[in-house]
């Protein structure tokens, strides 16, 4: 098992939920903690700390969705240590970053002794804490297309406490070009066993642009896209309601001010 920031792995060890025979600490591996923009692609090293990414000028210029979302990730002392790549590999359906990379259409660069391969974000998250990573593979970096002048983004979530996991949340991105909305991607948090890309909603929003769908139409589309889980305190219907409200808010922002922060 790989130990990066350890902000999920070590709690699991402390609680005896996990007993790996070998723990490989990658914190001192050089070259994994770099953020750089080159030729329209923003590359974030897997070992970049959340606070490093949140404060990065390159990230706020080229992927402001992440800057916004990272303010919701846990607390400063956790963000000082937790890593961007670690959060993706942990693949918690209630975490912010997996939904962000889905919304942004990121590519995950994976390395192993056999070589390297690139995995699209939509092919990376399989299910409950499950990813496309094979035995012996390590996530090295994440490539994101830079947000151009026509790019739009939205992030918000509802949580019981500051820094807590979201009851439901939304990371969304789109481009508006020549009076058309192109490839709107709505990725929902805590609305399934993994971050879910809402295809029916995306299609509805793109077809209707420049008009916005009504709230009941949004809810209808989301009923096809999402499967919010239920627990002792939050019903599936409550999560669905939050998801609908967030989607309506995102769509409104995309129409009104273009979603530019």
């Amino acid at each position: 098992m790989i130990l990066a920031g350890g902000q999920s792995v070590i709690p699991a060890l402390n609680m005896r939920l996990n007993e790996p025979a070998v723990l490989v600490d990658i914190n001192k591996v050089p070259g994994l903690g770099v953020i750089e923009e080159k030729g329209g692609v923003l590359r974030i090293g897997a070992l970049c700390r959340h606070e490093q990414v949140r404060k990065s000028v390159d990230v706020s210029a080229h992927a402001p969705l992440l800057t916004k979302a990272l303010a919701h990730v846990a607390h400063p002392a956790i963000r000082n240590r937790g890593t961007f790549g670690g959060s993706l590999c942990n693949a918690d359906a209630a975490a912010e970053l997996p939904a962000c990379v889905l919304a942004l259409g990121a590519t995950l660069n994976v390395e192993s002794a056999e070589g390297s391969r690139a995995i699209a974000a939509e092919d990376f998250f399989f299910g409950f804490f499950e990813t496309a990573l094979e035995e012996g593979e390590v996530l090295a970096s994440i490539d994101l297309p830079v947000l151009g002048a026509t790019g739009r983004h939205f992030f918000d979530e509802a949580a019981r406490r500051r820094g807590d996991y979201a009851l439901a949340g939304l990371a969304a991105a789109a481009r508006v070009e020549g009076g058309r909305m192109i490839a709107p991607r709505f990725a929902f948090i805590s609305c399934g066993d993994r971050p879910l890309l809402a295809g029916a909603l995306g299609e509805l929003v793109a077809t209707r642009y420049p008009d916005a769908p009504a709230e009941d139409e949004i809810a209808e589309a989301l009923a096809r896209d999402l499967e919010p889980p239920e627990d002792a305190v939050t019903s599936s219907a409550a999560r669905m309601r939050i998801a609908t409200v967030l989607a309506a808010r995102a769509i409104r922002e995309f129409q009104q001010n273009g979603g530019r922060a």
Partner: protein, 158 residues
């Protein structure tokens, strides 16, 4: 698992020890370095009582292994309290009654010190946000935020 030798600096002093790879930093500080100011609460990163500075940044002592701190500079509440900046914070906590049982206080102090390093004139909302990962079960948040605001105001005047 065999013990590993580690050398690190704790509050400015070099410490060398033989530790189990599984030993976390908070337990190392309490049991090996005999600095019991760092408190262990939830042991999964939620309560913030074990917060210490590693190479200048506040981290959870329970979510780092001691062996990962080879060569690192650690600051605990003992080190902070001995500094001019830390004692100013401690005095403000006493002045404002910002502690009752005191269990959360070391983590609160380290977290507040980090905030004031980065942002010397925070708003009340920013203080609350920065301290949101530190639990106080005596429900003393109001007074804790007051104490941090007092220190910020005092430093701004001087």
């Amino acid at each position: 698992m065999s013990r590993r030798a580690i050398t690190l600096r704790v509050n400015g002093e070099e410490v060398t020890a033989l530790v189990e790879p599984r030993l976390n930093l908070a337990d190392f500080l309490r049991q090996e370095a005999e600095l019991t100011g760092t408190h262990v609460g939830c042991e999964h990163g939620v309560c913030g009582a074990c917060t210490v500075k590693v190479d200048g940044r506040a981290v959870r002592g329970c979510l780092m292994l001691a062996v990962q701190c080879e060569g690192a500079e650690i600051e605990t509440v003992e080190g902070l309290a001995a500094s001019a900046q830390g004692s100013e914070l401690c005095e403000a906590f006493v002045e404002q009654n910002a502690l009752q049982c005191g269990f959360c206080t070391p983590g609160m102090l380290i977290t507040a010190a980090e905030l004031l390093d980065d942002n010397p004139a925070p708003t009340r909302e920013e203080v609350r946000d920065h301290l949101s990962g530190n639990y106080c079960r005596c429900t003393g948040y109001q007074a804790i935020v007051d104490a941090v605001m007092d220190v910020a105001a005092k430093r701004e005047m001087s």
